[in-house]
């Protein structure tokens, strides 16, 4: 019986087997990249809100401190979304007739909540606590980015575990003195490594072994 394939097709078969390694590697790489991409994590995508609240205006232009609205961030695990009353502190006199702010006024009149869209949403099996981070010198900006430059709020980082661990493994690279916690565009006054190591000691930040233990974040 005659051969169906010519002898030279052996080369073709060898290349294909060799190439499969690359194809598999490419698939692995593609999956990994997609998983970390903003498409998958929704990082840097502004969210639609019932009122187009601009942090860029309130924080950047007016200079209101984060804690004016997010009052519980230093004392509670949950950084509160301000009640409508906080908006009305100023908007009872400013932008009084703006149609954009009608949902705020309606909420104040009726007592019904404004249904804001959550921007930074961790999985329910992560027990993140704001107060411990804020009190140990992790600035708002370190996780939330330059909120003072966000016309509509977006999630700045991937919020993936890998990203959390970056800091839990090396907190000295990210911590800042407590008095600059809410400062946007903070620059360390000197060498971050030196300042960071000093703060880690001063604030009693635990070692990487403890900070990367599963039960630190998962209960």
């Amino acid at each position: 019986m005659a051969q169906i394939f010519h002898h030279s097709t052996n080369t073709f078969a060898r290349i294909t087997i060799f190439g499969a390694v690359f194809i598999l590697a490419f698939l692995g790489w593609a999956f990994d990249t997609l998983n970390r991409s903003a498409y998958s994590t929704r990082a840097t995508q502004p969210r639609e809100q019932p009122v187009p609240f601009s942090h860029a205006h309130h924080v950047g232009a007016i200079g209101i401190d984060c804690r004016y609205c997010h009052t519980t961030v230093e004392t509670s695990g949950f950084a509160n979304i301000p009640p409508t009353k906080t908006c009305m502190n100023c908007h009872s006199q400013i932008w009084l007739t703006s149609p954009t702010l009608e949902p705020v006024r309606a909420s104040f009149r009726t007592g019904e909540s404004i249904r804001w869209t959550r921007v930074n949403d961790l999985p329910d099996f992560v027990y993140f606590n704001h107060s411990i981070h804020v009190n140990k010198g992790v600035g708002c900006e370190s996780c939330h980015g330059r909120v003072d430059q966000m016309p509509l709020t977006w999630q700045e980082n991937s919020l993936q575990m890998e990203w959390c661990l970056n800091c839990h493994r090396n907190p000295e690279k990210y911590v800042r003195p407590r008095e600059f916690i809410t400062k946007m565009g903070y620059q360390p006054d000197g060498d971050q490594d030196t300042i960071g190591r000093q703060l880690v000691k001063e604030y009693g930040i635990q070692d990487a072994r403890t900070l990367t233990s599963c039960s630190i974040c998962h209960r």
Binding site: I62, Y68, N80, Q93, I94
Partner: protein, 199 residues
């Protein structure tokens, strides 16, 4: 053998499809501010019934919680000793909650006022310099004129620290060089940066 392998592959693919469910991400529990269908207003966080007193929070010390004496007059004296720490704490709280309108010096030219809010009086007028500590506390707690109340945003002790800082601001505007301790006068031309002062 071959069918076993194929079967295994199919099960794997199906299993990875199952893993895409988000049950662990979105558990049927109420985290803060998560809405609910159970209550008509959609809030899983219930508001306290009027008159509820949490254990240990009767808050019947009128001097501390209202800034008033038993006969309803504003207290003249601070309910706790004013230390440097109290004033520094008051400074950070003042800069967060008060400075947007009253500005960092207490003259009432804050950014919100510049954008159209009614101009508050300067702290440095005679009436406010002579006002009792309890009066300032009461204004923070219940509001006054155009100013809304800050009872929900600022805890009681922090309100007192703000009173202390407002007093310090008033003092600073009516002081002479002689009020500065002799050994600290050299710093007047080279002020040390205050924590949280620049932003």
């Amino acid at each position: 053998m071959r069918t076993n392998f194929l079967f295994g592959a199919v099960v794997l693919v199906l299993a990875s499809g199952v893993a895409c469910r988000q049950d662990m991400h979105d558990q049927p529990k109420y985290i803060p501010l998560r809405p609910t269908d159970f209550f008509a207003d959609g809030r899983s966080e219930r508001q306290l019934i009027d008159g509820t007193v949490a254990r240990g929070h009767l808050n019947d010390d009128a001097v501390y919680f209202d800034g008033k004496t038993a006969d309803g007059k504003a207290v003249e004296q601070f309910p706790f000793p004013v230390t440097k720490d109290v004033i520094l704490r008051g400074q950070t709280r003042y800069n967060v909650y008060c400075a947007p309108c009253h500005d960092r010096l207490g003259e009432g030219n804050g950014m919100v006022v510049r954008r159209g809010y009614r101009h508050p009086p300067s702290y440095h007028i005679g009436r406010l310099r002579q006002a009792a500590d309890g009066y300032i506390f009461d204004v923070i707690t219940n509001g006054f004129g155009a100013m809304p109340d800050y009872a929900a945003q600022i805890p009681v002790r922090d309100r007192w620290t703000i009173v202390a800082y407002v007093r310090a601001l008033q003092l600073s505007h009516n002081a002479s060089v002689n009020d500065v301790p002799a050994d600290a006068r050299g710093q007047l031309d080279h002020p040390t940066p205050v924590p949280g002062g620049e932003k």
